[in-house]
């Protein structure tokens, strides 16, 4: 079977830099210092969400109230993408539009947790105490704000996307595989129009705790992603919602839509992450796109987290694989959005291709070199902080 061509026909991106690809381009070109908050959760630094007018994409207050922030961010970004693709309100097409969502979940009520933790330690009858407090203090609707697949559920309710949805869990790799599976299904004729993406709420102490178990939150003065190593290694979690409409080229043409770009290839793998594994995996994945690359006309957008070990492996592997291609770590701009990181990187690739050129390197990052030439292709990398390696090739149509 001949693989069908897959286009990106809608983009929905929100982050600390604002809303939409244009806002991200302006911020990237301006080269301002990253919009980080190092105080509110010190010693943890985050890229926070800007003030949002949720009603612009989630009109009903009752819907907003049934969600926690990660769901609001994602539902909002999905709405932007559907608007952008001209699908919003098109009930007929949305009835067959498929969803693949990369989600974490479990957004907890930290105040309730803290009160229970404080009391639980002091009580002798811990089981009874826990039951009583949870029965009384948990909001019944909290569960629905926590369940991973309820981001997709909310997108279905708010935007009417009811073809079917699949939710993938598993940190960064969930985002890689969401894009990979949607691409593969379209290419093979298992669907024509997909909305794909993820979201992340960074201002969550429960998530900071999750990554602090292994010391993954970056500490101390800000260092660009590619230069992080040893004591400076780690990530600044970034709030973001990143959704895209992927569409079979003929379907998009038939309804008169122009694409941002073509999603040519998406591949992923898993290694045990012994030293050198991540680099070897990246080299192996690179082989699938190497014959398609046009020397001097492509850039690498890295979803690298800044995590210890893997970041250096990726940087060094890229230097060997594509010594003349300029690279940019998107984490310098928007932080690290876990499940949403790879979809965000693909969207930023679409942004670069739309402008046909690259934004300037991060300050004090010798790995990122200036580039004034034209760009026709973007290689997107997504190496998880713990597991999973992914790669995509996004091209100008």
């Amino acid at each position: 079977m001949n693989a069908r061509e897959v286009w990106i026909t809608g983009a929905g991106l929100v982050s600390s830099l604002g809303e939409g690809l244009d806002a991200h381009w302006r911020a990237a070109v301006a080269g301002d210092a990253p919009k980080i908050d190092a105080d509110s959760f010190a010693p943890v630094t985050v890229h926070p969400m800007p003030a949002m007018e949720w009603s612009r994409q989630i009109p009903k207050k009752v819907d907003q109230n049934q969600m926690e922030n990660w769901q609001r961010i994602g539902t909002y970004a999905a709405g932007l993408a559907l608007d952008d693709a001209g699908l919003k309100g098109d009930a007929e097409r949305l009835a067959t539009t498929q969803m693949v969502v990369a989600a974490g979940g479990g957004e907890r009520n930290v105040e309730v947790d803290d009160a229970i933790s404080t009391g639980l330690r002091k009580t002798d009858d811990k089981g009874r105490f826990l039951n009583e407090r949870l029965m009384n203090d948990l909001k019944p609707t909290l569960f629905l704000a926590q369940l991973s697949n309820l981001l997709a559920g909310n997108i279905a309710i708010v935007h009417g996307v009811v073809g079917a949805s699949r939710t993938f869990m598993g940190e960064e790799q969930a985002g890689v595989d969401a894009v990979r599976i949607a691409h593969a299904r379209i290419a093979a004729g298992q669907g024509d129009v997909f909305i794909v993406g993820g979201s992340y709420a960074s201002q969550r102490p429960d998530m900071h705790l999750m990554y602090e178990f292994k010391g993954h939150n970056r500490k101390g003065p800000w260092v660009p992603v590619f230069e992080r190593d040893g004591a400076s290694a780690g990530f600044d979690l970034g709030a973001m919602g990143a959704f895209m409409v992927l569409e079979e080229a003929g379907t998009a043409k038939a309804r008169g839509r122009k694409p941002y770009a073509k999603l040519t290839t998406v591949v992923s793998d898993r290694t045990r992450r012994d030293p050198g594994d991540a680099a070897a995996s990246l080299r192996h994945l690179w082989e699938t796109i190497a014959p398609k690359l046009k020397s001097g006309r492509f850039t690498v957008l890295s979803g690298s987290s800044g995590a210890r070990g893997v970041t250096r492996e990726e940087r060094d592997a890229l230097a060997a694989l594509a010594p003349s291609a300029p690279a940019r770590a998107i984490g310098n701009l928007i932080g690290h959005g876990m499940e949403a990181q790879f979809p965000a990187a693909v969207l930023l690739a679409a942004m670069v291709l739309e402008h046909g050129g690259l934004f300037p390197p991060a300050k004090n990052s010798p790995t990122e070199t200036a580039f004034d030439g034209g760009i026709d292709q973007v290689v997107v990398t997504g190496l998880g902080h713990w597991r999973g390696e992914g790669l995509a090739l996004v091209e100008r149509v």
Binding site: L130, A156, Q190, K214, N217
Partner: protein, 427 residues
Amino acid sequence: MAANLDRQGRPLIVVTGMGVVTSLGQGKDDNWTAMMQGRSGIHRITRFATEGLRTTIAGTVDTVPFEPQCAPALSEKLASIAAGEAVAQSGVGRAGDFPGPLFIAVPPVEMEWPQRLAIAEALKDKDPVTTRDFVARVGQGGFESFHELFLFGGVADRIADKFGTKGSPISMSTACSSGATAIQMGVEAIRRGETDAALCIGTDGSVQAEALIRFSLLSALSTQNESPEQASKPFSKNRDGFVMGEGAAALVLESYESAKARGATILGFMLGAGDRGDGFHRTRSSPDGKPILFAMKDAIADAGLTPDDIDYVNAHGTSTPENDKMESFGCMAVMGERMKEVPISSNKSMIGHTLTAAGAVEAVTSMMTLAHQRIPPTINYRTPDPAIPLDVVPNEARDAKVRYVLSNSFGFGGQNTCLVMGLEPAA
């Protein structure tokens, strides 16, 4: 039509290995025997204190030791047991070297109370304690293992490592249809020609106090605690909610062509899948039932069949007032008057609702129904619901001629996934 392709020209897919563990026991043979006897695996919860809870019963799996006390640890163990049985029966690949990808439905995980308590106790000098104190404390070390334990992709990664599956393992969550979705993902991957084999698993070991309380606060659970084994009563008039269950099931899917080529024993055909979203409400189905009935129709059409070909429905049948009514309505809409004669039964009457695992557990039961030509019962059916005029195979297993089974899975968030299985491909 080429012998190895379906009517739409796609590779035919067979099941060559199955494994299951539930509150009724370990292994598909023990489970099948118990179901044929109409036994219930539901009992009083002993894993944690139940004082003050509205529901004190569940179908927990108590025969599998696990440490530390948390859902991912048990979910991983259950998945490993089921996958071990399935891969051994299939004989595909070599030990620790499964020749295809892993699709695994796992419950969403997060840190649980035993772990929170451990950190709180390490903060001796602090009172009160906050999550931010926790962050400061764990940064000093001593809790490193919690990171991998509670990552959303942790269980899948460890199962992928143990069984040597290929590529990136996918952790699924489509709520209570997750197990069926994992199988559907395997079907699609083989049809795309990406692989000849896939390991599809649904697992759920999440009966812990907070998980139970969350469902309880949504008024989703049965509170008929006095006689645990009688609490799950799908399709009965006095049904009052589901009973949480635990378990796992694994299926080895292969292309018919490659299974034949290696001389594998073929247990049955995985013929079709259908899934539809529902944008009506977070926990309730569209009143017109359309998403449910379209999911069924899609699955039957995907299998190259018509509703008249379905001989038995393995129901979602949760025992909640809403689900059983809507499922019955949906089946009637798809099958018409004939539905009154088509047997439909719910495994959940015996094992409870195994949540993330349910779709996979029930796919295994459906395959065994085909193999044995015998239908498992809906137990605890004493008070028929006049609104559900169906043959629910009440209380006793029954011999029957079954060529094609439809297995339904419906979940919170508008997730509806149906599978069609058969002894042979559509003619």
